[in-house]
C-alpha cells in the first residue's frame, strides 16, 4: 500500500504548485507554440505518409544535439543541423515511398549510433544526456526558448503561406504537377520545415517520442473529420492540450514531461478512434436502413 501511495505522490505532487507555475511560465508558452507547430505540420506528415520519416529525422537530430553537447555549443543549433541534413537527404533521395523508407531505415540507426557515441564521450551532467532522448523542456534556458519560439513562428508562417499548394502537392501530386505547380520545390521546402519542426519538438518530448507531437494529434483528428480546415484545427488543439497538459501535470512529481505528453496524446487518439468507429457503425446501419432490399 505504502509503495503505491509513494508512487502516486511521486507522479502527482501539487504542493507549492503556484510557485512552480511561475517558474515554468516560459516553458508553457513554448510548449503551446510547439503544440501549434506539431498539430499543423502533422496533418501534412499524415497525408504525405511520412511518419517514419519524422522518426528518422529525429534520430539524426538527436545525433546533432549530442554532438553540440559534446562540443559545448548550442544544443538547439546542433539539433537543427542534424534535422536539416536528414530531412534534405530523405527529401532528395527518397522521392518515392519505397526508396524513402529504405533510406530512412539506413539513416536512423546510423544517427542513433552517432548520438550514443557523442553522449558517451560527453563528461557533463547525465540529466542532459537523458533529456535529449526523452525530453525536458525545463532544462532549456531562456535564450534557447526564444530561439525555439522564433523557429516555431517561422515554420507556422511558412506553412500558412504554402498551405493550399502543399495540400494539392501532397494528396494529388500528379495533377498538381500537370497544373504547373513546382511539386519538387514544394516537397523540399516542406522537408526543411519538417526538419525544423522536428528539431524543436525534440527539445520538449525528446528524440524517441517526437511522433507523439508530430503524428498522433493529426492522426487522431483524421479519425473524426475529413474537412481540410477542421483537421488541422483539431490537430492543433490536441497537440497543444497534450504538451501544455503534460507540462502542468509533470510539475508536481518533477518527472520528465514526455510520459505525460505521450499519454495525453495517446488518450486523445483512442477517444477519436472510438468516436470515428461509432460513427462508421452508425453510418453503415443507417445506409442499410435506407436500402433494405438491395439484394
Amino acid at each position: 500500500m505504502f509503495v503505491s501511495v509513494d508512487f502516486w505522490s511521486q507522479l502527482f505532487n501539487f504542493e507549492d504548485y503556484g510557485e512552480l507555475l511561475a517558474l515554468v511560465r516560459n516553458s508553457i508558452i513554448a510548449g503551446a507554440v510547439l503544440g501549434i507547430v506539431g498539430g499543423m505540420i502533422g496533418t501534412f506528415v499524415m497525408s504525405r505518409d511520412m511518419a517514419f520519416a519524422v522518426h528518422g529525422i529525429s534520430e539524426l537530430s538527436f545525433a546533432g544535439a549530442a554532438a553540440a553537447l559534446l562540443l559545448g555549443i548550442n544544443v538547439v543549433a546542433g539539433s537543427i543541423g542534424g534535422s536539416l541534413i536528414a530531412a534534405l537527404l530523405i527529401g532528395v533521395l527518397g522521392a518515392r515511398a519505397r526508396e524513402r523508407n529504405s533510406i530512412i531505415g539506413v539513416l536512423m540507426p546510423f544517427g542513433l549510433g552517432l548520438g550514443i557515441l557523442f553522449l558517451s564521450l560527453y563528461k557533463g551532467r547525465s540529466a542532459n544526456k537523458f533529456g535529449l532522448l526523452t525530453g525536458q523542456i525545463v532544462s532549456v534556458d531562456s535564450p534557447q526558448l526564444t530561439l525555439l519560439i522564433g523557429i516555431a513562428v517561422f515554420v507556422i508562417v511558412g506553412l500558412l503561406i504554402m498551405w493550399r499548394p502543399l495540400t494539392f502537392a501532397s494528396v494529388d501530386p500528379e495533377v498538381a504537377r500537370a497544373r504547373g505547380l513546382p511539386v519538387t520545390a514544394i516537397s523540399l521546402t516542406f522537408m526543411v520545415l519538417l526538419g525544423l519542426a522536428t528539431a524543436i519538438s525534440i527539445q520538449i518530448v525528446g528524440a524517441l517520442l517526437v511522433l507523439a507531437l508530430l503524428v498522433t494529434p493529426a492522426a487522431a483528428a483524421m479519425r473524426v473529420t475529413s474537412s481540410p480546415l477542421l483537421t488541422p484545427l483539431l490537430s492543433v488543439v490536441f497537440a497543444v492540450v497534450s504538451v501544455v497538459g503534460g507540462i502542468l501535470l509533470s510539475l508536481g512529481g518533477g518527472l520528465p514531461i514526455s510520459p505525460f505528453v505521450t499519454t495525453i496524446s495517446f488518450a486523445i487518439y483512442l477517444s477519436c478512434r472510438v468516436i470515428g468507429w461509432r460513427r462508421e457503425v452508425g453510418g453503415a446501419r443507417s445506409a442499410v436502413a435506407e436500402s433494405p432490399v438491395a439484394a
Binding site: S47, E174, V175, A178, R179, S226, P228, L229
Partner: protein, 277 residues
Amino acid sequence: MADIASPVLSIRDATLQFGDRTLWRNLNLDVQPGEFLAVLGPNGSGKTSLIKTVLGQQQLTSGTVSLLGNPVKSGSRSIGYIPQQKLIEPGTPLRARDLIALGVNGHKWGLPLGSRALRSTVDTLLEAVGATQYGDAPVATLSGGEQQRLRVGQSIAGHPKLLLCDEPLISLDLHNQRVVSDLINEQRHALGTAVIFVTHDVNPILGMVDRVLYLAGGKFRVGTPDDVLQSPVLSYMYDTPVEVIRSRGRVAVLGAPEGYGVHDHLEHHVDDRRAHR
C-alpha cells in the same frame, strides 16, 4: 490568316527514343479546339510518354511540341489532367468538394479558406459531373467510379483548353466507363475543350472520337477511326497479319502480337478483378 482556328497543341517532327528503342519517329500532329483525339496502341508504345511530353515531363529526342503556340513547360494552367485511376488514400483529409476545389485554386498560395464564390463554383462543378449527392463525403470513402467523376470535375474546373486523359476508364465497370466518358464528352462540347484520350480500348469512346492516333511498332497513324482501324493499316504497323473486326458498333483487334497488348474488352475485366482485390 485566321481561316481555321489555331491548334491547341502542335507536335512537329517529334521523335522519342529510349536507348535504341524508338517509340515514335517524326510524329506530326495538330489538335484543334474542341477536337476529341483518341490515342490507341499496345502497352509500351509510348501513349503515356506522349502525355508526359505534352506535360513537359518528358524530353523529346528531337522535334518540338507547342501548347497554344508556346513551347511546352512543366505543366500548365491551360491543361486539365485526369490521371490513371489511383484511389485516394484512406484518411486523406479531403471531401469530394475539396478535391474539386483544388482544381479551381489549388495552385494559389495561402489557406484553403472558402469564399462564397468558390462554393458556388464547386457546387456547379459537382452538379455537372453528377456528384452533388456525395459532395460532402470524404473522398477516400467513395468508389472508383465516383472518384473518377470528381476527377472529371476537377480537371475542367480551371476552364482548360486541353484535357489530357490517361486511361481514365481503367478498372471501372462498363456502366461507369460509359458515365465517365459521356461526362468528358459533354464537357468538351460545353467548353470547347480539346481532348486527348489515351486508352487501350477504344470501344467505350468510339462514338465520340473525331480522330485516332494509333501507335505501334515504332510507327504511327493519324486519321478517323474508320481510316485507321483497318486490317491492312494495323497489319502494316504491327508487321504481322492483324484482323480488325467490327460488329454491332464495336471494334476488336485480333492477332496483335503478344506483348503488344490485347484490344479486346476482356482485358478490362482482368483489370477490374485486380483492382478490386
